[in-house]
Structures are given as C-alpha cells and as structure tokens.
C-alpha cells in the first residue's frame, strides 16, 4: 500500500501559533468520518470530546522532543502528556487525545489533535493486507477548521507518524492513501 506523505505543518514550534490560543472550555465535536477509495466509501460517526488544550509545559515538551529526538522521543512525550480529550469512532472505545492545540485568528479557528495510538488502519484489515506495514504508525492526527461564520470542516489521519521537517514544523505520514474527511461537523459546549 502506498503511504501518503502529507506535508501538514503541525503547530509544532511554529511561532505564528504563539499566543493565539482561545480560552480552554470543554466542548464536543461530532461529525461524519468518511473514507473513499476506488471501489466505494465507508463512513461512520466521529466524536471528539475536548476538555482543554494541552498545557504549555506539555506542549513544549512534545515540540522539543520531536525537534531534538525525532519520532521516537515524540512518541514518549505524547504518551507522557496528560489526556486532554477523547476521540470516539463509530461508538467504539474512546482513544486518548494527548495533544491539542488551537489557533484563533481573523479567518477562524484551527484545532490540531493527536491521539496516543492509531485509531484505524484504512485498508489494513482487508484480505491479504500486509499487517507489518502498520508498524510505526502509532498516532492519529485530527484537524478541525472552523471559519469565521462557524462552518466547520476536518480531516483525520487515523494511523500516522510524524517527523520534523527541519524547519520548525512537522511532516505527517499517513498510513492511508488519503486523509479521512470529516463532514457535518457540529460543535457544542460540554
């Protein structure tokens, strides 16, 4: 299976994110996660329960770990960070979100969330799939964008790995051929 390499600059260490965090209020996002391939599409309910954004100390610890120690230390830092929310797919068991960061500016709001485990291997469960190919994809990354009018869109890399891009950001490798799109996003305080 080809692995998509998505040049998503995570908020890691990017100065533009500094000071742009909104007040941390518990909130819940619901939506429909949909993945398509050449033969069809599968969709399911997605629920994000976000208690707060990641505290500054832990955020810096994760950022530094990735910059200085690469993916292995990033994983340790993510798993040491406190749980700040949960991701539930299709009514299944919740996954811990241990990294949550947001940016709010004139164009709207952007949330980046990282779980401490992969949540789904798109295509990895089909007959004949090489399960060893899953190795190394140890987190999931969600992006939610809310524009100034309140319309939201999002994407999910359900099994991913990250690495420093050498320029203060991070490159996200997705196990799947393409990101899972999140539609019909609704937000409510929780």
């Amino acid at each position: 299976m080809p692995i998509a390499m998505l040049m998503i600059v995570l908020l890691l260490g990017v100065p533009a994110w500094a000071g742009a965090q909104a007040a941390s209020q518990p909130e819940m996002f619901t939506g429909t996660a949909q993945v398509k391939n050449a033969t069809g599409a599968v969709s399911g309910r997605l629920e994000v329960r976000l208690r707060r954004v990641t505290p500054e100390f832990d955020r810096k610890a994760v950022d530094t770990a990735l910059k200085e120690g690469g993916y292995p230390r990033f994983l340790i830092a993510i798993r040491t960070a406190p749980e700040v929310g949960q991701l539930v797919l299709g009514g299944g068991a919740p996954f811990s979100i241990r990294y949550a960061r947001e940016r709010v500016d004139a164009t709207g709001r952007r949330l980046i969330l990282v779980t401490d485990k992969p949540v789904y291997f798109v295509g990895g469960g089909r007959a004949g799939a090489d399960v060893t190919a899953r190795k190394g994809f140890e987190v999931a990354v969600i992006e939610i964008l809310i524009d100034g009018k309140g319309a939201a869109s999002g994407s999910l890399a359900a099994a991913a790995r990250v690495r420093p891009d050498g320029d203060g950001g991070a490159v996200l490798d997705d196990f799947a051929e393409q990101l899972i799109t999140i539609t019909n996003i609704a937000r409510k305080p929780s």
């Binding site: 505290p55 100390f57 832990d58 040491t80 406190p82 749980e83």
Partner: protein, 179 residues
C-alpha cells in the same frame, strides 16, 4: 563385650551408615535464631507501626528552583506485614499540571508507587527495593521518584514522609493519617 554393648555398637554403626547413605532432605524443624527484637526503636516495632492504611492529609512538593506546590487531591498509602508499601495519589488537574512541570512523573494526575521496602531504623528511612538497578530515567528521577528514600517521622497517628535531594534539601513532604 556384653550383649548390651554389642547392640549399642550395632545401632551406632547403622546410624552412621544411614547418615552417609541417605540423601539430604529439607530441614523440617524450626531453627532458633535467637530472640527477635520487638521493643521500641527496632525494625519490628517500626514495621508494626507502619502496618495498615493511611490517608493523605497534605502533600507539598518543592521542585528544584521552583515554588513549593501544594497538591490538591487524594491519596492512600498501605503498608503490609511483609514490608510492601503501596502509595496511590490522585491529584486534581491544576496540581497535576504544576507537578508535571516540576519534574514529577504523574501521568493523568496519578502517582502509583509500590513494592517491597527496606527499613533503616537508625536513619528513619524507608527505601523501595527496586528490581534491578532502575535508572533515574526509568523511575522518573523527580521529587517523588521511588528510588529516593522516604524519611519518616511519626506523631501519634500521623506519619510524615519526606524525600530529599543529594544535598539533603527537602523535595517533598507528605502527611498521612492512620485510617
């Protein structure tokens, strides 16, 4: 030689042969090791005092170079008659954030340490017996790391445990009340 003496000699000879021929078996009888010291100031007395369940009253952590952190939360400490000590502390979110920033390993607000402890009565310390030589990295190395001895003080039914750094500065103080 009288008949009686012959029988005695035969019995001794048989006993010797038996002792040499038989494989050694596990000793079944208790072996006296002398009287166990149980008075005040002994290890046995210290163990007896510690035995039971203790409820956390307060905990203050002094991170190196930082302000003291008064933890808000709950905790239970149990010490059994085999010298096993288990400490379970659950801090609230705000305390947990401060403690983590102060170098305390506290995943999701929980500190759990458990294991067999050695009592040093003259120095009034409890030390976890860690399997292998766990490094500071493995055990966290912070103020509440299991590889730091717990200095104890007792006053009636309150147990005070402190951890110290290499220079003797107090890193943490916790007060526990017997339950």
């Amino acid at each position: 030689m009288t008949v009686n003496r012959v029988w005695k000699a035969a019995a001794v000879a048989l006993a010797l042969v038996g002792a040499v021929a038989c494989a050694a078996s596990e000793r079944q009888r208790p072996v006296s090791m002398g009287p166990v010291a149980t008075g005040a100031g002994t290890t046995a007395a210290a163990r007896k005092f510690l035995e039971g369940r203790w409820i956390l009253e307060s905990m203050v952590v002094n991170p190196p170079g930082g302000k003291p952190i008064t933890m808000k939360g709950t905790g239970v400490l149990t010490y059994d008659d085999f010298g096993n000590m288990e400490m379970n502390v659950k801090a609230d979110e705000a305390s947990s954030d401060l403690l983590r920033a102060g170098g305390v390993v506290i995943p999701d607000g929980v500190i759990n340490t458990s294991g067999r402890t050695a009592i040093d009565v003259p120095n009034k310390t409890l030390t976890y017996i860690l399997e292998g030589q766990a490094s500071a990295m493995k055990t966290g190395g912070g103020p509440l790391s299991p590889n730091r001895p717990r200095h104890w003080e007792v006053a009636r039914d309150v147990l005070t445990l402190t951890t110290k750094d290499e220079s003797g500065a107090v890193l943490s103080t916790s007060r526990w009340k017997r339950n």
